[in-house]
Structures are given as structure tokens and as C-alpha cells.
């Protein structure tokens, strides 16, 4: 045996209990700090609740009514669904500029397949979802196999899909009345459940269900762990035995599918199918904004999908609150700019004191 043994042997009597220290953070504050430290997704929730309270105090019962509060949910349902999709991509350290355009294109597919080709509306919805998934697959393939930066892939795809959308639809809007008469199923997610003043369209319920399901998948399945690992450090993940290609493909395809769902929600909310819906142009930035306000890092691997949902709601609360307060449009934009920065500053501050 080698000469190193003599002193190394002395370690054989080492203590064998796991290190522990007395807990010095005591009481409620300590408890809260610890909870936030362990669940950083709660931080945007705090900002959200604070924002609701402040607007409630300023605007009174007009804002603090079931009607207005559920109105916020209705107004964020599309951005909320897109933000859920965007969050998945951003967790893999990507970014998707095409989500909004895909959603709008899918509304056109659903509408035109029903009206131009006379397909049964349920089949048209299925085609729309399939189209979304297919576009997502192309994005995923370019990112994962050709190894292009997601920003460029989805920037190109954004332009391609938007232009295809105008070309294919002939810039024609399909009117709400016509859909209601001939293909009501397209508007299915617009069906509203009412409880007193509170109004819940099925689209809102779909959004909430989607967020919960994705949160479960990310937290409690192997797939979810792989998504985080790929976003954190793709090389390490590959070395550790994660199939990075398969994971990326599944994420991009799922995102395409969710964009298809967003399309269906859009038809429910607006009644009509319009190729020039602004979601195609600004839906991407809105979704990214929600995600980042929700505390997901643009560098991937960190954050939770609940955060993205709260992020979308925070923007929705600000927008409705300022509108109800009657701020004029440019002032509203200016203040929303300020509030976005403020919301994230508060978030940052809470994280710091609970670190």
C-alpha cells in the first residue's frame, strides 16, 4: 500500500451526522422570508396582489367588483395563453417571436377551412391546432438540428407566417355573425359562465387549466426536469444523458400547439376571424413581457410558469386600472412603462431581502 495511507486513515473515525445549525430566522418574518426563498414564483404574486389593492383603493368598487376583476381575466386570456407558450421556450434559453403570428394564422386556418372548404368546424379547429404544431416543429428543427439561434429562426418565421396569413386569407375578415350562424363551434371558448357579476368565458378557464397542467408537467415529470436542464446548460444536459434534441423538439411543437389553442381562444373572444389582428404583430412582445415580469430568466433554466401567468395579470391589472382611471392613451403607455419597471424593481427588492 502507498505511503499516503498513514494520514488518510485518520479520517476513518470522522463524524457521520449531517451538518446542522440552529435556525436563527425565527417568527413570522423569518417564515415568510423562507417561503419566498423556496418559492420565488410567489414574488410576482405579491406584486400582483399589491397592484390590485392599490387600484382598488383608488378606483373604489368600480374596480373592486366581480365584473371588473373577471374582466381582467378576460382581457389577458390570449396573452396569458401565449405567455405560457413563451415561458416554455424561454426556459430552454430560447425566445419565440412567432407565437402571435402563429396564433393569428391558426385563426385564419380554422376560419377559412370551415368557410372556404366547408369543413365541419371541429375538424377545422383540429387542422388549426395541427398547423400550429407543424410550424412549431419547423422552428424546433431549425433550432435543434441546424443549430440556429432561436431569435433568428422565430424572427424569420414571424415574417413568413404573418405574410402567409395575409396572402392565404386575402386580407379577408370572417364576420362574427357568419361564424355564429354557420360554424358556432369555432366560438365555443367564448361561451360565458356567469356567477353573479363574475364572468368566466371558457377561454379563461382553458387558460387557467393550461397553466396548471404545464406547471405540473414542469415540476413533476421527467420531461419538465429535462426542459430546465436543457435551458440551464445544454452541453451539461447532453453529457448527463438528456436527449437535448428530443426535448427541444417537444417544447417547440407543444408551443406551436398552444398557439393553436390561443387561436381558438381568440375566435371565442373576438367572435370574428381577422388576419390583421394585432396579436400577430405585438403578441410576441406582450408574451415575452409577461414572462420576464413573472421572473423567468431570459438566459433559461430559471423561473416558473406560474410566474409568467402572474406577469400577464400584472400587466392586465395596470392596463385596466389606468384605463378606468381615465388616463389618456399616451399617458397610459408612459405610466405602464414606469409601472413595468417598478413592478420588477419591487420583485428584485423582495428577492434580495429574502435571499
Amino acid at each position: 500500500m502507498s505511503q499516503s495511507d498513514n494520514f488518510e486513515a485518520a479520517a476513518s473515525g470522522a463524524a457521520t451526522d449531517v451538518a446542522s445549525f440552529e435556525d436563527t430566522h425565527k417568527g413570522l418574518v423569518g417564515q415568510i422570508q423562507h417561503t419566498l426563498h423556496v418559492n420565488p414564483a410567489l414574488v410576482p404574486l405579491i406584486v400582483l396582489v399589491a397592484a390590485i389593492c392599490i387600484f382598488g383603493l383608488v378606483l373604489g368598487s368600480k374596480f373592486f367588483s366581480p365584473f371588473a376583476l373577471t374582466l381582467i381575466l378576460q382581457q389577458v386570456q390570449i396573452v396569458g395563453v401565449l405567455a405560457a407558450a413563451q415561458a416554455l421556450i424561454i426556459l430552454t434559453a430560447g425566445i419565440d417571436l412567432s407565437v402571435g403570428a402563429i396564433a393569428v394564422f391558426c385563426t385564419v386556418i380554422m376560419g377559412q377551412f370551415s368557410f372556404r372548404y366547408g369543413m365541419p368546424p371541429a375538424a377545422a379547429v383540429a387542422c388549426g391546432l395541427a398547423m400550429g404544431t407543424a410550424i412549431g416543429a419547423v422552428n424546433g428543427w431549425l433550432v435543434s438540428r441546424v443549430k440556429l439561434p432561436p431569435f433568428i429562426v422565430t424572427l424569420g418565421m414571424w415574417q413568413i407566417v404573418l405574410a402567409a396569413n395575409y396572402l392565404y386569407s386575402d386580407n379577408e375578415t370572417i364576420r362574427s355573425q357568419d361564424i355564429a350562424n354557420d360554424a358556432a363551434f369555432l366560438q365555443f371558448l367564448g361561451y360565458k359562465l356567469k356567477f353573479g357579476g363574475a364572468v368566466f368565458p371558457l377561454g379563461v378557464i382553458l387558460m387557467i387549466a393550461l397553466v396548471l397542467v404545464l406547471a405540473y408537467m414542469l415540476r413533476s415529470t421527467a420531461w419538465g426536469r429535462h426542459v430546465y436542464a436543457v435551458g440551464d446548460d445544454p452541453e451539461a444536459a447532453e453529457l448527463a444523458g438528456v436527449n437535448v434534441h428530443k426535448t427541444l423538439m417537444s417544447v417547440y411543437m407543444l408551443v406551436g400547439f398552444i398557439c393553436g389553442l390561443a387561436a381558438w381562444v381568440m375566435i371565442g373572444r373576438y367572435g370574428s376571424v381577422s388576419p390583421s389582428a394585432t396579436t400577430g404583430v405585438i403578441g410576441n412582445i406582450q408574451a415575452i413581457t409577461a414572462v420576464v415580469i413573472g421572473g423567468i430568466s431570459l438566459f433559461g433554466g430559471r423561473g416558473s410558469i406560474m410566474g409568467a401567468f402572474f406577469g400577464a395579470l400584472i400587466v392586465g391589472v395596470f392596463e385596466l386600472g389606468l384605463r378606468m382611471a381615465g388616463a389618456d392613451p399616451q399617458w397610459t403607455y408612459l405610466l405602464i412603462g414606469v409601472l413595468i419597471i417598478a413592478a420588477v424593481s419591487v420583485d428584485q427588492w423582495i428577492r434580495k431581502v429574502t435571499a
Binding site: 449531517v18 451538518a19 413533476s220 426536469r225 451539461a236 453529457l239
Partner: protein, 259 residues
């Protein structure tokens, strides 16, 4: 004469103007502990990456059990039974210790939640993770759900070694597994290596720690300037010889094949 279980011939890998592997040969015999030693930058890590699919060599061939293999990713190698601890550890910094240990081979709950919803059995994975860490003597890890990036250098390395050891397979490759480890933790790793060997699994051990190498290795592959300089038997050569060969202070023995 027994066949090598893992054999490579003429491996070459260049990065631009830098040559990392220069027509390198390699042999691992069944059931043995083969140490690989060499200067910093000699190409040891690149060699084992070429063997484990993490790097695709520019030239040369690899045979496993006498059959030519063509790994294009570490997953291929792993499926063929080669388990590796890389020098860079290959961990996801933001994920927890348990997540990292079971990356790519997660345990799913039994029952409906597992079958239908593919729910992970986190409690079980955490329990096993804690157990493996205790086996390595890493008692200073206070919180098993800590993100790996918050671990100390040595704790992190311990987790990587525990991961490889936990999943026994055909060949285990360890690239400097004890570099950041303390005295006690290093000893435990050496014991673990002996343990794995006694289960009949051959091991490739890269290390700069000569006493450890000479303690456990059956044969020593001396790597220099991107290729195998010679293979020596630790019972026939001293540590001084080994160091002299690998640093170029002395010419290697005539018959490079020792086993």
C-alpha cells in the same frame, strides 16, 4: 490472450491549430482498473470524451467488445453501457442535487399517478440521493434540495461521482474524480472504485494523484502530447518512473504494452 473490452486506434482530434489527440491508441481490459496519467493539457480528457461519444474524433476507430462503435452523443455511449464522470462534472447548476443525480433516469411513482401522469417519485429520489452522499461522507450538505450551483466545489464533485457510481454498468470512466475532494471524501471514492471493480466492472481513472493511482490501478496508461506514450505496470515501476515518463524527463521503456 483476452480481448480488450474497449479499444481505440489512431484517434486524432484537432481544434483549429491546436492538436488535442494525435493518432492515439487505447486499450481497456475486462475487469481492470486502468489509470490514465499525463501532464495538464496532454489530451486525457479529450481521449475519454472521444471514447464516451462527447467528442467525435476527426480520425480513428473505437471498438467495444470487439465490435466497431460510432458514438455520436454521450447518450449512445451510455446506452452501450459506458458511464462517465466528466472533468467539468456535467451538472445543471440551477437544479437540485436529486434532480441532477437522476437526470435522464428519473424514478416514476408507482400506481396511477405514475402510470397515467408520469409523476416523479421525488421523495424516493431524494432519499436515495442523500444515502449516496452519506456513503461518500459528504455530511456537510445540509439541504438535499439545494441547487447544485450553491454547493462548494468539492460537494459538487461528490454529487457527480455519486451519480456515476449509483448506476453501475459496463465501463465506468472517472476524469479526476477526487481533484476537489477532501481527504475523507477522496478515501471514500477510492473505496468505491475498489467496490465497483469487485463487481467486475472495469474502470478508467484519470488522476494527477500518484499515490492514489499506484494504490488502485492494475495498469497505467501514460499519456503525452496527445498520444499513448507507454503502458506500465505499477508493480514494476515506481511513481518516480511514471512521473519521469509523463513529463518527458525520461524515455519510456521499450515494450510499451505491459498487460
Amino acid at each position: 490472450m483476452t480481448q480488450p473490452i474497449l479499444k481505440a486506434r489512431g484517434l486524432t482530434k484537432r481544434y483549429g491549430k491546436v492538436t488535442a489527440l494525435d493518432r492515439c491508441d487505447f486499450d481497456l481490459m475486462p475487469g481492470e482498473i486502468l489509470a490514465v496519467i499525463g501532464d495538464n493539457g496532454a489530451g486525457k480528457s479529450t481521449l475519454i470524451k472521444a471514447l464516451s461519444g462527447a467528442v467525435v474524433p476527426d480520425e480513428g476507430s473505437v471498438e467495444l467488445d470487439g465490435k466497431k462503435v460510432d458514438f455520436h452523443s454521450p447518450i449512445d455511449a451510455r446506452e452501450a453501457g459506458i458511464e462517465t464522470v466528466y472533468q467539468t462534472l456535467a451538472m445543471s447548476p440551477a437544479l437540485s442535487i436529486a434532480d441532477n443525480m437522476f437526470m435522464g433516469r428519473e424514478i416514476i411513482q408507482s400506481g396511477v399517478m405514475g402510470k397515467l401522469f408520469r409523476r416523479l417519485d421525488k421523495a424516493k429520489m431524494q432519499e436515495i440521493a442523500r444515502e449516496k452522499l452519506n456513503e461518500l461522507g459528504l455530511m456537510t450538505i445540509q439541504n438535499i434540495n439545494q441547487a447544485v450551483e450553491t454547493l462548494s466545489g468539492g460537494q459538487r464533485q461528490g454529487v457527480a461521482v455519486a451519480r456515476a457510481a449509483a448506476f453501475g454498468s459496463k465501463v465506468i470512466i472517472l476524469d479526476e474524480p477526487t481533484a476537489a475532494l477532501g481527504v475523507k471524501e477522496s478515501r471514500r471514492v477510492l473505496e468505491l472504485i475498489q467496490d465497483v471493480k469487485s463487481r467486475g466492472i472495469p474502470i478508467i481513472l484519470i488522476s494527477h494523484n500518484m499515490p492514489h493511482v499506484f494504490e488502485v490501478a492494475d495498469r497505467i496508461h501514460v499519456h503525452r502530447l496527445g498520444r499513448r506514450l507507454c503502458v506500465i505496470d505499477p508493480k514494476e515501476h515506481s511513481m518516480s518512473d511514471a512521473v519521469a515518463f509523463m513529463t518527458g524527463a525520461q524515455e519510456p521503456p521499450e515494450h510499451p504494452q505491459a498487460a
